[in-house]
Symmetry: C2
Subunit: 122 residues, 2 copies
Amino acid sequence: MLRLRFNADGLIPAIAQQHDSGEVLMLAWMNQEAVAETLRTGQVCYFSRSRNALWRKGETSGQTQRLIDLRLDCDADALLLLVDQKGVACHTGRRSCFFTAVRDGEAVTIAQPEVDPATLYG
Amino acid sequence: MLRLRFNADGLIPAIAQQHDSGEVLMLAWMNQEAVAETLRTGQVCYFSRSRNALWRKGETSGQTQRLIDLRLDCDADALLLLVDQKGVACHTGRRSCFFTAVRDGEAVTIAQPEVDPATLYG
């Protein structure tokens, strides 16, 4: 099996990247069970640190991530998930969570919501 | 200033992405000082958890990363660095650290070194 290096909390950071456009969508965390489920089902499942539970991405919002390829880095302590993102990755309704840039020391919003979060989460 | 959410060790994960090709090169960690230095100098500086010290990327190997844009995610606990990577990002001599893919449950090497690490590190 894969020899991943989980941290002291049993977690490993996972980058989600849209497989065709190359856009980095988000960074979240996985535990061993989340990695196994993701590989088994082909639907990305993270581990929510705030809820302390498996987080099947899109379960509530419908904005699922289909796994295209799972990669690990040279020291096996980070994952790169190539995914096909349905809709938007961010809970704010934006495509990517990385919508804030630092320009001249100031935080600047560089992307707007594509969908109203209220429609995603009821 | 930026209100970043560092973890209990004072660190935040940072993804380095080649700004034009979109290739995800590596994931490393920064502390507040590394973020400040990177923004000030325009050359990416991480924090090495193994050496417990600032890690000026490319200081030894010459494989530096010039910062193009620094972004933070929606909950300010992850960074995305758009960079211009000189040479290769990985200490193995490969362009990206994510050169291992999981295919049918097996770890498969999908990229070869572009340069001999011995020439990078003497």
